[in-house]
């Protein structure tokens, strides 16, 4: 049986003390351990930002690539070897800003990977600019008169493009988040958890206390996560009460399920057959 200690990594952590990321990291390690998913069977792909550094702080295979581009890298890796468990660690700027088109497309492909978005509604690593999920009116040094653009609603977008697992977590509810991560990884097809987290350095509005007062667990209410209309309606709830948990879940064949050759095994496991290739050449 694995414990979170199996994921211990002595590389120096570079997050601000008190950052919500620490709780997310703990929830990830606990979820992987409880799923009996050892570091050598796990691939974490990340982009740029504080969330992008996550895989450096636990033991796993990782690919830490470009800003916004974690999803295409993860998609390519999953196509090459669909037996990999692929988790993407991203942030609101990385995933919904720089990588917005990839987010939409990953949802549409229903590629069987799990996307964890550390959403603190602000850019941290570049020191406090508005993010796509910042609320209208949110003031920063770069947006001194407040954010003008409408806030990006990741859950509604994911639902609109047919995502089969759409959830919201909160870094302040670690056990709940751990359970969500396990369910998301177990889900066959694209799964995403938008994780509310405070930024202690640059977001004085959406603090731990702010979230903690508003977050309520959907599982404690009479909620049917297979009802897409209800999920849409819930995805637009933001204010005094913010639902956390699985808003919507429905499995359907994933991208790699729908490619006939891959039913016999991962792409990486096929062998080069000269005669087959020569036959293709000779029959052109």
């Amino acid at each position: 049986m694995l414990t979170k200690e199996n994921f211990f990594c002595d590389f120096e952590n570079k997050w601000c003390p008190g950052c919500g990321n620490f709780q997310i990291l703990e929830a990830m390690k606990e979820a992987f351990a409880e799923m009996d998913l050892p570091p050598e069977k796990l691939l974490i792909v990340s982009g740029i930002g504080q969330a992008g550094k996550t895989p450096h702080f636990l033991k796993c295979n990782f690919f830490h690539g470009l800003h916004g581009r974690a999803l295409p890298v993860a998609t390519g890796a999953k196509i090459a070897n669909h037996e990999l468990t692929v988790v993407v660690s991203s942030g609101d700027g990385d995933c919904y800003g720089e990588g917005g088109n990839h987010f939409i497309s990953a949802v549409r492909r229903n590629i069987d990977i799990t996307l964890l978005v550390h959403n603190n509604k602000v850019y941290g690593l570049t020191k406090g600019q508005a993010s796509p999920t910042s609320d209208i009116g949110f003031r920063t040094k770069m947006q001194p008169h407040g954010v003008i653009a409408n806030s990006f609603n990741p859950l509604a977008v994911a639902l609109a493009f047919g995502a089969g697992f759409v959830a919201r977590g909160f870094s302040g509810k670690k056990t709940h988040l751990n359970q969500l991560i396990r369910k998301a990884i177990a889900h066959k097809g694209f799964s995403m958890i938008d994780i509310m987290q405070p930024c202690v350095s640059f977001n004085p509005v959406n603090t731990f206390a702010w979230y903690n007062k508003r977050a309520y667990d959907l599982a404690e209410e009479d909620y049917d996560a297979t009802d897409l209309d209800a999920a849409f309606s819930l995805s637009r709830k933001w204010g005094d009460r913010i639902p956390i948990g699985i808003l919507y879940q429905k499995e359907s064949p994933s991208y790699t399920d729908r490619i006939a050759h891959l039913n016999t095994g991962p792409l990486i496991d096929f062998t080069y057959e000269k005669d087959r290739v020569q036959h293709v050449i000779d029959t052109q």
Partner: protein
């Protein structure tokens, strides 16, 4: 009399010009003639002006020619645009509805005859029939090709086309054509192939199994061919949301262990440059095809150019080793693609195939059948190859700069990679000594990479005037050398395919004695001339440059060479 004639078929996009071109090329190939065809078209699906130009010969040919001996005009515009290229004795074959021309006009009622055959859509087959009749080709030769082309369709389609072909033949049966020739049975000289298909076959023969792309002329042909030829083969083609996604998917798949590629043109390559750098710093072997077209920005989408040379060599910020190959022919496009995959994995660097619209879309006759390699070396380390897999470091510093490459989730070795500057174990590091060490590690590969590069091919390389070219201009340059030598001009050429890292020593060995060098390039800045000077100190006397978006013709060189004699 030797055979060497050019037939041009022009009309609007959507009139089936390319089909006529394919049919004529196939008839010639099957009759044992040499043939090559260029496709010239606008960026539109209907209307405008397109043409296919086929050169037919009984000796080997490598390039298109300017003269048009037989012009088949499916529209009026074709007559206006091309009649100036017709030498004495040439003919324009056109629909009867067209009136005047400056050159002898032979009218055939393409559309009316097509309607008689069963549908206006076969007008292009009528035209092809008339053309072949003028060339003296036996009707059965055409019938055989039509049967192959339309045999798999509803039999009425084949019947209509055969009827249309017959009517086309009969319409000109009494006419004479100066360059008609004997169609005695000759042994087939090879098979028809375009650059896109050769690259696609090369990728398959290199055991590539994943391609991601965003559609862009003239690079989509590679993917179209790959898709068609991998039906039933474990190969995944994914149309990405943009070129950035395409290159990053390829990086992800290559990281996970599958040989992967993407195909794009200059604008898409621009979007891929950050990914190219990622492959550079994370030492991921990927192959990118850049089929050049004139730019910048949208430029001329369906035309040809060699304007991306210095761009691809330098693309992406800062420095990292990469390979750049510019195939000189369709044969080389096949083998260069295999080499690109092989060397990319051997050195864990990105490799770029720099082709262009001319090579990608033109049809050539290849004499030697492509041979797939017996086996493929992957240069991958498994646990058993590693001294201590539990302490595996993806970026271990070695003398060669190449670290053992394990794959994620294939053993106990954890594969940890970052596009940030990193330690040997892949973790982020801002340490100054580490930074210098890692740059040196990556650069350490360059010497051995250069050793893999081939120097230029020479053709009369001791001549007094040496034409220097690269990539797909090679055919026209070699033919220009032949034409110049016939006129007693002491000309030769050196042509390059392996461009980066630049094989300077091999170039110096070949060029040390050269007297007067002139580069021939399809760009306005003489980019290869600049590169050659930068890398070897060799100063060329000048350059023959063409940048109108059209392919290089031997005549372009002949016309400008006097400036250097």
């Amino acid at each position: 009399m030797s055979v060497d004639i050019t037939v041009t078929i022009g009309g609007e996009a959507g009139q089936g010009i390319q089909t006529v071109g394919d049919l004529l090329a196939q008839v010639c190939q099957r009759a044992g003639l040499y043939v090559m065809a260029i496709n010239d078209f606008e960026s539109r699906i209907r209307g405008g002006h397109s043409f296919v130009q086929i050169r037919i010969s009984d000796h080997e040919i490598f390039s298109p020619r300017n003269d048009v001996h037989l012009l088949i005009a499916l529209d009026r515009q074709t007559v206006i645009l091309h009649q100036g290229r017709i030498p004495d004795g040439g003919i324009i074959l056109s629909d009867e509805s067209f009136s005047e021309a400056e050159k002898p006009l032979m009218r055939v009622a393409f559309e009316k005859l097509a309607e008689q055959a069963g549908g206006k859509i076969t007008a292009n087959t009528v035209a092809a029939g008339s053309c072949l009749a003028l060339l003296g080709a036996p009707f059965d030769n055409f019938k055989d090709v039509l049967s192959v082309r339309f045999g798999s369709k509803d039999s009425s389609v084949l019947d209509k086309n055969i009827k249309a072909a017959e009517l086309g033949y009969q319409a000109v049966s009494k006419a004479d054509f100066k360059w008609a020739f004997g169609w005695e049975k000759r042994a087939e000289k090879g098979v028809l192939m375009n650059g896109s298909k050769a690259i696609a076959l090369g990728a398959l023969a290199a055991d590539c199994r994943f391609a991601s792309f965003y559609p862009m002329s003239p690079a989509t042909g590679v993917i179209r061919n790959l898709t068609a030829m991998t039906e039933g083969i474990p190969f995944v083609v994914e149309q990405a949301e943009d070129e950035i996604a395409a290159v990053n998917m390829v990086i992800g798949a290559a990281f996970a262990g599958v040989r992967s590629m993407t195909s794009t043109s200059g604008g898409g390559f621009c979007l891929m440059t950050e990914g190219l750098g990622l492959a550079g710093i994370a030492e991921i072997p990927i192959v990118i095809i850049n089929a050049q077209r004139p730019g910048p920005a949208t430029g001329l989408p369906t035309r040809t150019a060699q304007g991306d040379l210095l761009f691809v060599i330098n693309a992406s910020q800062d420095e990292f080793p990469r390979f750049v190959f510019a195939p000189r022919s369709v044969d080389e496009a096949f083998y260069a693609t295999i080499r690109a995959f092989e060397l990319s994995e051997k050195f864990q660097v990105p490799a770029i195939i720099l082709t262009d619209q001319f090579l990608s879309d033109s049809v050539f006759l290849i004499r030697e059948k492509f041979i797939a390699p017996a086996s493929v070396s992957r240069f991958i380390a498994v646990d058993a190859d590693l001294e201590d897999p539990k302490n595996y470091h993806r970026f271990a510093v070695t003398e060669s700069g190449v670290s053992p490459r394990a794959l994620p989730c294939r053993g106990t070795a954890l594969v940890t990679s970052s596009g940030n500057e990193h330690l040997e174990d892949g973790h982020i590091s801002e340490d100054k000594a580490n930074r210098t060490r890692m740059v040196n590690k990556r650069n350490a590969k360059i010497a051995a990479m250069i050793a893999e590069m081939n120097g230029p091919n020479g053709y009369f390389e001791d001549a007094g005037i040496l034409l220097i070219g690269w990539g797909s201009c090679t055919g026209a340059i070699k033919e220009a050398v032949d034409l110049l030598r016939e006129k007693n001009v002491d000309a030769g050429c050196l042509t390059f395919s392996d461009l980066w890292p630049f094989p300077a020593e091999k170039v110096m060995d070949t060029m040390g004695k050269a007297k007067k060098c002139v580069t021939v390039e399809l760009n306005s800045a003489a980019q290869f001339k600049l590169l050659l000077r930068q890398q070897t100190g060799i100063n060329c006397a000048g350059s023959i440059l063409k940048y109108d978006g059209r392919p290089l013709f031997p005549q372009d060189i002949i016309e400008q060479i006097n400036d250097f004699i």
